[in-house]
């Protein structure tokens, strides 16, 4: 409890305090009032980062749909299914640094993807996948989806296995084909898991850092094309030593995640009343 106090509760108050100061970590903080927040509102990079982080939320519905479909597939009891499940889980466990390097080998200007596309005569010139600002966010989002596939699949799989068999039998008697069976039984049965994944993955999307950092480095891609709020926070706090300003950023992020969670909780409560 003490450790949580020191590393979770205390920091929240500390950050609130720092956000009203100018602080470079080495010399003591100097009170500057609301200066950091005023600067924040006029900071174009902040608004850009905010937009990027919200754009990132697009991965949430994609992940939910793909992972439910995948969970339904791997829930079939056919020989070798455990091996497939294990393979799908590899990206989840292998660590973001290793994954970043692996993908850079593929997406590099001289990398595998370009060699393949050149060989198949789909393109004539190598594409600068990692140096083209328009591709930065979509590529990072693709990586997020790829990394999350196995994890969320497992959660939905666990949910599927809790759905009573009788419901499927009943659906079959009512003349459902296998698609309808899943649409009317599996999908509603996975509601608790969907809420869980929705909350977890949208928080992760808003707080995304690793994927952008490992693919595009500390700068977050050319022309700030991949700068998310957390990446910007990291740059301010740990590269430029603007701990005060970074704290104001952190508070902005906290307000957003809190707003999100309240929205989500309202929605869950409402569903419980209705359903």
């Amino acid at each position: 409890m003490l450790i949580i106090g020191v590393f979770v509760i205390y920091p929240i108050f500390a950050v609130v305090y720092y956000s009203f100061t100018s602080y470079d970590i080495v010399t003591p903080p100097v009170w500057v009032g609301l200066d950091n927040y005023a600067k924040l509102l006029n900071d174009q990079t902040f608004w850009q980062a905010l937009l990027h982080s919200f754009t990132y939320l697009l991965v949430v519905p994609i992940l939910i749909v793909l992972c439910i479909a995948l969970a339904i597939l791997v829930n079939r009891k056919v020989p070798g299914i455990n091996a497939f499940r294990a393979i799908y889980y590899i990206p989840v466990i292998s660590g973001s640094v290793a994954i970043g390097i692996a993908w850079r080998l593929i997406l590099d200007t001289n990398g595998l993807l370009n060699s393949l596309l050149l060989a198949m005569k789909i393109i004539n010139e190598p594409v600068q996948w990692l140096a083209e600002p328009n591709y930065t966010l979509p590529i990072a989002m693709l990586l997020t989806t790829w990394m999350g596939l196995g994890y969320y699949m497992m959660i939905f799989l666990a949910g599927l296995q809790n759905i009573p068999k009788e419901r499927y039998d009943a659906a079959q008697i009512d003349g459902c084909n296998s698609f309808q069976k899943h649409w009317y039984v599996s999908v509603p049965g996975l509601r608790p898991q969907m809420s869980f994944v929705l909350i977890i993955s949208s928080l992760a999307a808003i707080e995304v850092f690793n994927e952008v950092f490992i693919l595009f480095g500390p700068s977050g891609g050319l022309l700030n094309s991949g700068v998310t709020i957390v990446l910007y926070l990291w740059q301010q706090a740990f590269r430029l030593q603007h701990a005060g300003y970074a704290s104001a950023l952190a508070i902005a992020l906290l307000i957003i995640t809190m707003g999100f969670s309240i929205l989500n909780m309202r929605r869950i409560e409402r569903e419980e009343v209705v359903g």
Binding site: I3, F7, I25, L73, I93, G95, I101, A237
Partner: protein, 286 residues
């Protein structure tokens, strides 16, 4: 109609099932290729000799001159063994102490009645919403100015010795244990600590195992915080070391690939060994 009436099966069942299964396997294999291929490519690159092309049109997957030279080169130039040792030390200590602390904290939340219990627990849960990066600014300040453990392994271990998520998981597990067991012990005036250790802990062993695996994996793969704390090469964990390797071997793709393989293989083996336990655990926590 009685419940034992067999369900109507669609006609042409067998042929249809074979066709269906082929289709199923085709999709499963496609997804498997998508998830595993980047790693296969890294493995292939790491085994390629100096005359094998890594960049060519069309791409070449199988090395003509397979060699372990790349591994030797990385091993000689970087203290990979100490990276490993550091990662193991950090992860094992974190798991052991974290589980002890969080299960102790979870017990009162699950099975004891005291004033404000639910309020405190709700407050703890609310910290879920706090972005981890927010807490890292003050944690960094404390590491430098208060604890003076900057650039030591302890700096990586200390902040993760207790986590809200694990308290939550273990509270769920404890809650599922029938109250009768505990009440019987309380009538025999067994102390709460003994109840926790000798009655509850053995019962929730599967949940403890899952929590342990999740914690181990998180700590093993953690990069953000260790990279802020560790700067001396001999003190780095694998993840931080990998980034250092990337910096050292900038254009030596074979070497970088060999480094990646060396760090990923152990964790994959670890997971495969515990897959059963892990799957059971996830269904237990939801």
């Amino acid at each position: 109609m009685t419940s034992s009436t067999p369900l109507p099966r669609k006609s042409g069942g067998k042929l249809r099932r074979i066709a269906g299964n082929t289709f199923l396997y085709a999709i499963l294999t496609l997804v498997a290729i998508i998830t595993a291929f980047p790693f296969v490519w890294v493995l292939a690159t790491s085994l390629k000799g100096p005359t094998d092309a890594i960049y060519s049109v069309p791409p070449q997957l199988i090395p003509h001159q397979p060699t372990l030279d790349n591994y030797r080169r990385v091993w000689d130039q970087l203290p990979i063994a100490s990276f490993f040792l550091n990662s193991i030390v950090v992860s094992v200590i974190t798991v052991a102490v974290n589980l002890l602390f969080t299960s102790l904290a979870a017990y009162p939340f699950a099975k004891m009645n005291f004033r404000g219990r639910d309020a405190i627990f709700f407050l703890l849960l609310a910290t879920f919403v706090v972005p981890p990066q927010l807490t890292q600014i003050p944690s960094f300040v404390m590491a430098v100015n208060v604890f003076h453990y900057y650039d030591t392994l302890f700096a990586v271990i200390f902040p993760s010795l207790a986590t809200v998520f694990n308290i939550f998981l273990l509270r769920q597990a404890f809650k599922a244990v029938p109250n009768d067991l505990i009440d019987a012990a309380r009538i025999d005036s067994t102390g709460e600590l003994r109840i926790w250790w000798s009655i509850l802990m053995p019962v929730v062993r599967p949940s403890l195992a899952t929590t342990a695996i999740i914690t181990f994996g998180n700590q093993w793969n953690d990069f953000f915080w260790p990279s802020l704390m560790l700067h001396t090469r001999s003190k780095m964990t694998l993840q931080v070391g990998l980034v250092a390797l990337q910096g050292m071997f900038t254009s030596d793709m074979r070497g970088i690939a060999a480094g990646v393989v060396m760090t990923v293989i152990p964790i994959i083996i670890f997971f495969l060994a515990l897959q059963r336990q892990f799957e059971r655990g996830i269904s237990g926590t939801m």
